[in-house]
């Protein structure tokens, strides 16, 4: 992984110092609330229902065991519910005692969030994070956010080229970019280097896909204008092949055009997707004209040279690891034979949680953070420390935060799989449910978030409790279930095969259910938002609705046919009917 130079480390420490000064001026009343707000946001501090939320950047999802330990310390020592006055809790939401604290939360954008750190302790936390190169730079606010990528970047067997060197170049280019700190709205870039899109790139403000042209030259397909929210849009391809060395020159053109022409009069119309949709080819022409100016008048100042790319690639040399595959096969066979009760679970784990690797001696292993009793993507201080130990023992000290809110160990020797499985299972992190129904994406919802219309966590919990039978889960097969507590879509409901969206009516929580969305992966087909099936449901009805949808699938499917494929073949009608049939609260024309 990228190793911080003295320049990088010092920069992060200076940023923490700068934030301390800003915080102190705000506390002293020298800096107004209005002037402080974008400063704290661009350091990751966001105000929620009970307490601030801190979003820590994990650049392109790559994190070290040492960094994970510091996150554990933050969770244990700072993420305390009892430090806050929670007596003002809104009626209708979860009882405060049920809400998790002393834990970290993995986000769909590969970052890590904390929900209970008092602002008074914020500067201390930033100093602590800076001690291992962590920070909250541009994790919120109207600026260029953390670049996300494939959790299998640099190790995926279907990779055209490693996106991490480019993601790091993007991190450096975008960090405190003086021109782009006050864009009309947030700006998210995702990059993938693989044939399979595991980074949902068409759903981003800019989606980059590495590919090779007919001559074998490396470049990017560039999409602009994707996004979720109340206007879900898929990014438009503005360049089918941009030579790799022009990446920053072209991105500067895109972001400058957006900064100049994006709407600033209406927060709901301020994302670049609205500009791209409204202006169409005019927007593309404006970007091309600006790009022409950057290349020909400015002298293409951001051109990435061969030497720069090579130097960056040198940071991402794989660790030296080998194993004897013959003995690995024997070990796995031994484990399979050893315990009859366990073998299905181990073989299922191999099937669901273990991915092939560019190095045939190695595997990528996902630790599942989707289990009953904890919110999807939540990890306690203890679990973070244990995961750090697993990374040190089995994965060269490196982990990835995945888009699906799990942790992935990228460098696991295949002969270590049985031991890793036993250790992970002991920690409750070996649930073989990756890609299955309970590997759901969920936002923190109304329990924490001020924007949310409805809660996500109790719903996620109800489903995690209901679907514990692994036979059943494996029989249902791959389903992307995505839950958002409001239309801001942090839980990516638009791209779920099954999407659940919290909506508010008369101060009550209701849920819309959508079907047929796709993140753009090969299994899910072209990126597309799901479609709402009928009126909203009451919270109490939703688990039954999910069960009815899955039951319908099992009745309708042909051998080997996935949920999504079956739905696309039959259309939504039978699913809508099945969902309507389990209405109780909303059955008597109670219009939600």
């Amino acid at each position: 992984m990228y190793r911080y130079s003295e320049f990088d480390s010092r920069f992060v420490r200076l940023r923490a110092q700068q934030f301390r000064d800003q915080l102190e001026r705000w506390q002293a009343g020298e800096l107004s609330e209005e002037a402080f707000k974008p400063l704290r946001l661009q350091n990751g501090w966001y105000v929620q229902r009970f307490a601030p939320m801190l979003r820590v950047a994990v650049p392109y999802g790559v994190i070290s065991a040492a960094q994970l330990r510091v996150l554990a310390t933050v969770a244990r020592d700072y993420d305390h519910k009892e430090d806050h006055d929670t007596s003002q809790a809104q009626a209708g939401l979860s009882e405060v005692p049920t809400l998790p604290d002393r834990c970290a939360h993995f986000t769909t954008r590969q970052n890590v969030q904390f929900n209970w750190i008092p602002l008074q302790r914020a500067a201390d936390v930033m100093d602590l994070l800076a001690s291992v190169g962590l920070h909250g730079i541009q994790t919120s606010g109207n600026c260029i956010r953390n670049t996300t990528t494939d959790a299998l970047a640099g190790i995926a067997v279907d990779e055209v080229a490693d996106p991490r060197p480019f993601a790091e170049i993007l991190r450096q280019w975008s960090t405190l970019h003086p021109e782009f700190a006050f864009l009309p709205r947030k700006f998210k870039v995702a990059i993938t280097g693989a044939r399979e899109d595991r980074a949902a790139t068409p759903w981003h403000d800019v989606g980059l896909r590495l590919l090779r042209d007919a001559e074998g030259e490396l470049g990017f397909e560039v999409r602009v204008g994707g996004g979720m929210g109340r206007t879900p849009l898929i990014g438009r391809v503005v360049r089918s092949f941009l030579p790799w060395h022009q990446l920053l020159n072209y991105l500067e053109a895109i972001v400058r055009a957006y900064n100049r022409f994006g709407r600033r009069d209406n927060i709901y119309k301020a994302r670049i997707k609205i500009l791209v949709k409204a202006e169409g080819q005019n927007f593309v022409d404006a970007v091309e004209e600006e790009y022409h100016g950057i290349v020909h008048t400015d002298g293409a100042p951001h051109t990435i040279t061969e030497a720069q790319l090579a130097a960056m690639q040198a940071h991402f040399v794989p660790p030296e690891l080998r194993c004897d595959r013959k003995s690995a096969d024997e070990k796995v066979a031994h484990i399979l034979a050893a315990a009859t009760a366990d073998d299905r679970e181990f073989s299922r784990w191999l099937e669901r949680n273990v991915a092939p690797h560019q190095n045939p001696d190695l595997r990528a292993v996902t630790l599942s953070f989707k289990r009953p009793g904890q919110a999807p993507g939540d990890a306690t201080a203890e679990q973070l420390e244990r995961a750090a130990e697993l990374a040190e023992r089995y994965s060269a000290g490196e982990l990835r935060v995945t888009h699906e809110q799990n942790l992935l160990l990228p460098w696991v020797r295949c002969d270590a799989l049985p031991e890793l499985w036993r250790d992970a299972r002991r920690l409750g992190l070996a649930r073989p449910n990756i890609g299955l129904l309970t590997d759901m994406i969920a936002c923190p919802g109304g329990d924490f978030c001020d924007l949310a219309n409805a809660r996500s966590l109790p719903l996620a919990q109800a489903l995690l409790q209901r679907y514990t039978d692994l036979d059943e889960l494996h029989d249902i097969g791959p389903v992307d279930l995505h839950i958002s507590g409001c239309i801001n879509s942090c839980g990516h409901h638009h791209s779920g095969h099954i999407g659940i969206l919290g909506v508010d009516k008369d101060g009550q929580e209701w849920y819309q259910v959508t079907l047929g969305g796709s993140d753009g992966s090969q299994a899910s087909g072209d990126a597309v938002p799901g479609r709402v099936i009928g009126r909203s449901f009451a919270a109490s009805e939703v688990p039954d609705v999910i069960e009815a949808l899955l039951h319908t699938y099992r009745l309708q499917r042909q051998p080997g046919e996935s949920f999504l494929a079956t739905l696309r073949r039959t259309g939504a009608e039978p699913y809508r009917d099945a969902a309507d049939a389990v209405r109780t609260q909303t059955s008597e024309g109670v219009d939600a």
């Binding site: 280019w173 960090t175 003086p178 006050f182 100049r260 100016g293 008048t297």
Partner: protein
Amino acid sequence: MSAAAPPLQLFLASDFAAPEAPEQRLSLPNDADPANLNLQGIGVVELHFTRFTDGRAFSQAFLLRRRLGFAGTLRATGDVLLDQLLQMQRCGFTEAVLRADQSLAQARQLLTHYPAFYQLDAWSGTTRRQA
């Protein structure tokens, strides 16, 4: 890193009187396209921040300085606050007329906080890309 930007001259709006003749000055609205300007005889371009969170003037400044090679004074006016001065300097501004409630002493201090940055600014021709 980029070569050091020229110093940013700081003023308080309450004390500031423009020294140049009005005909040497051009005041641009945020939606003006710098490419269409006639800069003949213009010594000062003023870019006005209606709100400090409206970042269009940063792009205008970049274009004036780097694209058009404007060598005169680039002045920031309006909602000009301490914590955006560094950005203004790096985008090509040479003067900042701060909102009257801001502290000049603090402003000078904040401008020296970072010895270097990752990316090019409007002034420089080389970049330091960490590798």
